[in-house]
């Protein structure tokens, strides 16, 4: 099908593209004809959505089930103070409509799952992975490979980012060629646990947007078979070679994974109740009551020292960051009741598992961490 013509309004709006011969009328019409599905409307999805809409990509799909939170605004620039509390898809749709009412935006306020991924992706030319967890990254990869669509990949951690284009149909590798298996849960911290420099997803997301625009217009050298690494602290870009693995279970010569699987299970994620029984848990309200009694437990904080400066529970007995717990375990007395806490309850859950494995029996995880303590016990405590 020939790309659609541009209206005079579109010619005015896109004139800075049109006067470059590499894009020109032909390229701009291909952008108008093009469609992109953004998985995630967060740190990476924000600059992606803004630049793709501004560039005149005809149809943009947004998949997200999250709600805009104040702590998102340090980096998720498609959202704003006025849309805190709103669904991210709707918040982004409003901003994109203001930026460029000439592009069509479709929102899907749902998590992407093995049941809906293929249907969500099918209408789009390009898939962009801006998610924040391993199960969704493997799901996005596998579904894109099965549909023969390019997957513009970006991921970030603290000060570091990775970008590439996975496109086995063009002879390139897929995500599973790069990383055949996910890390076990808990070994690689997420941005929520590890933090992220706010401007970092801006850099990585705009690189992804650049690749999507190149793919749609057919110009330049796509980032297929190359992994671009960015280190913001060193201010250094590096490039590594990526190859398609002929034995890859998804994109290899004889694929063994031909339909979408249970990606939570693939990534070793099991429902929390199975990993931690309630005898090893305590709620913030229960702990607060217990701290008032003479039998108060020993309170162990497993966060990092810079987090203590932000917020801390009064009466904390000891701080041992979770990654130093194994070395400093001798500082703890297994005969006393110990309650462990962190920001959200994830690291303290790991710490409790570690202590249980070391023979501690009177140890409990404060579920929900400082965040829930702030909600249920002490609203003056800062949430971060």
């Amino acid at each position: 099908m020939a790309p659609p013509d541009l209206s005079n309004e579109e010619i005015r709006r896109y004139s800075r593209h049109l006067i470059m011969p590499e894009v020109g009328m032909g390229g701009q019409r291909r952008l108008k004809q093009g469609s992109v599905l953004l998985i995630g409307t967060g740190g990476l999805g924000s600059p992606l959505a803004l630049y793709l809409a501004a560039a005149g990509v005809g149809h943009i799909g947004l998949v997200d089930f999250d709600v805009v939170d104040e702590s998102n605004l340090q980096r998720q620039i498609v959202h704003g103070t006025s849309t805190v509390g709103l669904a991210k898809t709707e918040s982004a749709r409003r901003r994109l409509h203001d930026l460029n009412p000439l592009v069509e935006v479709t929102t899907y306020e749902t998590p992407i799952t093995s049941a809906n991924a293929l249907d969500l992706m099918r209408p789009y030319d390009i898939i962009i992975d801006g998610t924040d967890n391993f199960p969704t990254r493997y799901l996005t990869n596998d579904a894109a490979v099965m549909l023969g669509k390019p997957n513009v990949y970006g991921s970030i951690f603290r000060f570091e980012g990775q970008v590439t284009v996975f496109s086995p149909k063009d002879g390139g590798p897929c995500y599973r060629c790069l990383y055949p298996e996910p890390p076990p849960p808990g070994l690689v911290p997420s941005c929520a646990e590890g933090g992220v420099l706010g401007v970092l997803p801006g850099v990585i997301g705009t690189l992804q947007a650049t690749e999507a625009i190149k793919l749609l217009t057919g110009i330049g050298e796509p980032l297929i078979g190359r992994l671009l690494l960015y280190d913001a602290l060193e201010m250094r870009f590096r490039e590594l070679k990526l190859r398609r693995n002929v034995n890859c279970p998804v994109c290899g010569d004889h694929p063994t994974v031909t339909e979408l699987i249970d990606y939570e299970q693939f990534c070793g994620i099991v429902p929390e109740v199975q990993t931690l029984s309630s005898q090893y848990e305590i709620t913030p309200v229960e702990l607060a009551a217990l701290l008032e009694t003479p039998e108060r437990p020993f309170l162990l904080d497993v966060r990092n020292s810079y987090e203590v400066e932000i917020a801390s529970i009064e009466g904390t007995d000891l701080l041992i960051p979770v990654d130093q717990l194994a070395e400093q375990i001798n500082k703890l007395d297994s005969s006393v009741e110990i309650v462990v806490y962190c920001r959200s309850g994830a690291r303290s859950g790991q710490a409790v598992e570690m202590l249980k494995a070391a023979g501690f029996r009177k140890v409990k995880n404060m579920v929900g961490g400082v965040l829930r303590w702030s909600d249920e016990v002490d609203p003056t405590m800062a949430k971060y």
Binding site: F134, F157, E181, L240
Partner: protein, 91 residues
Amino acid sequence: MAITITIPTALRQYAGNNATVALEADTVGALLHGLIEQYPTLGKHIFDSGKLRSFVNVYVGDEDIRYLQGEATPLKDGETVSIIPAIAGGR
């Protein structure tokens, strides 16, 4: 033979907060074992029961050691070896 190892952000806390470490070694395997001898807590993040973890890639220059000779890949003086683990952040 001095080889430079680049340590990714996620693992720097286990390597004395260094972005790079210089060591002498003839092969990738010897280099990585020398590294974890120096920084023992790094070990479990790179190896699992003696094998390189499948979400940790190792490159000599810009080439993945899976397409060279794995841990037996020989190293030349002045080469850079990069440890690149999977990261998933996007929000």
